[in-house]
């Protein structure tokens, strides 16, 4: 059995969710979560970067994206029904799999998940997306109420042309530009320019990879009001997110919400701002 066949077996992919925080108010609050898929447990290809590198080399993005959608929607059933979530989909899947939209719609409906809760994050590492019907695929997504985010802004294929083709509702700026931005004039310049560009598009920016309270201060000061990263939470399963206090919900067996409540590092930022 090839590794691709293994991936496509039901139940072999696992899904975690990383909180995306609203940063407008002094105390960041949960705004949505991003679904992050992991490869089969205990395999060399469990980490997402290696898993999807393999998938792209096999040119199997469309079929694996479908498997990911199934796994994500199965896992999303455990999220609070009012919480929005996003999932990564390759641009080539949208442009080359005409049945993908029907598949996604049917899969969400089967689990009673309203499409209005969904944001599709467009990822792409190969240039082939440019040659076919990506625009039509995105229009169709919007038509059924799904929002569009452009992932990895600033890296690889997430360039100006992709911005024009996607006209995203959200620009997800890569962690490369966020980490260390508090002491790097050039990173600040990039963040500021993306924030301005997003405003002109009528979009919002999500800063990825916020790990340090001073970087949080920086992205806020540059007009970015959504963010995610280890400062707030790693990617976790829904019960662990609930027990960490992100929402009311059942704790994993043998634990209590209070015992699992992690210290909130961004509180340090609040204290500093109050002084």
């Amino acid at each position: 059995m090839s590794f691709l066949e293994t991936i496509l077996e039901p139940g072999r992919l696992s899904v975690l969710f990383q909180p995306i925080m609203e940063l407008r108010e002094l105390r960041p609050r949960l705004w949505a979560v991003e679904a992050l898929v992991r490869g089969p447990g205990a395999s060399s290809l469990e980490p997402a970067p290696i898993l999807f590198d393999y998938v792209r080399r096999k040119r199997a993005e469309a079929v694996v994206d479908r498997a990911c959608v199934t796994a994500i929607l199965d896992a999303a059933v455990a999220l609070p029904p009012s919480l929005d979530f996003s999932m990564n989909i390759h641009a080539v899947t949208l442009s080359r799999d005409p049945e993908f939209l029907c598949f996604l719609t049917d899969a969400a409906e089967a689990r009673s998940i309203p499409l209005s809760r969904l944001t599709v994050e467009i990822v792409e590492h190969a240039p082939e997306w440019a040659d076919s019907g990506l625009a039509e695929g995105l229009d169709a997504l919007r038509h059924i109420g799904i929002r569009i985010a452009l992932d990895d802004v600033g890296l690889g294929q997430s360039n100006y042309r992709m911005m024009l083709d996607c006209k995203p509702d959200y620009f997800k700026i890569d962690r490369h530009f966020v980490k260390g931005s508090h002491c790097d004039f050039y990173r600040q310049a990039v963040l500021e320019s993306v924030a301005q560009l997003a405003r002109r598009f009528g979009a919002r920016v999500i800063a990825e990879g916020i790990e340090d309270p001073v970087d949080l201060d920086t992205v806020r000061s540059l007009g970015i009001d959504l963010g995610q990263g280890y400062l707030f939470a790693a990617a976790l399963a829904p019960p662990a997110l609930a027990s960490s206090g992100f929402w009311e919900g059942p704790a994993p067996s043998g634990t209590t919400p209070e015992a699992n409540r992690r210290p909130r590092p961004w509180a340090r930022t609040e204290r500093r701002e109050e002084v």
Binding site: F3, S44, R57
Partner: protein, 125 residues
Amino acid sequence: MTKRLLIVDDEESILVGMKRYFRSRGYEVDCATEREEAEALLSHVPYACVIADLCLRAGHGADGLDVVAYVGARQPQTPVVVLTAYGSPAAEAEAGRLGASVFLSKPQPLERLAEVVGGLVGSRS
């Protein structure tokens, strides 16, 4: 620091045996059954040594040489041991040209293979 090996072979039974053997000798071991899997791993994980079968898929010739070439491009300092049951002087020469360090015929006692790998990575094996 534990040294990490990548073993590339399309025969699961060989992979399982080699993985168990090299783990017992203190190595971390990743396995791949196909070229794309090996390349994805090589793009993200640094290896002390790669052991690659010459023929990864029946009827596709010496596609293990693609793995040798990829190691040369991505991790030029990493030694490669090429194993084959169907060796030919031409294949051996090509493997050497692409950067393979050692060319061994199958079957090969695991102790001998461990000796070769140990010599290449500079550890006791």
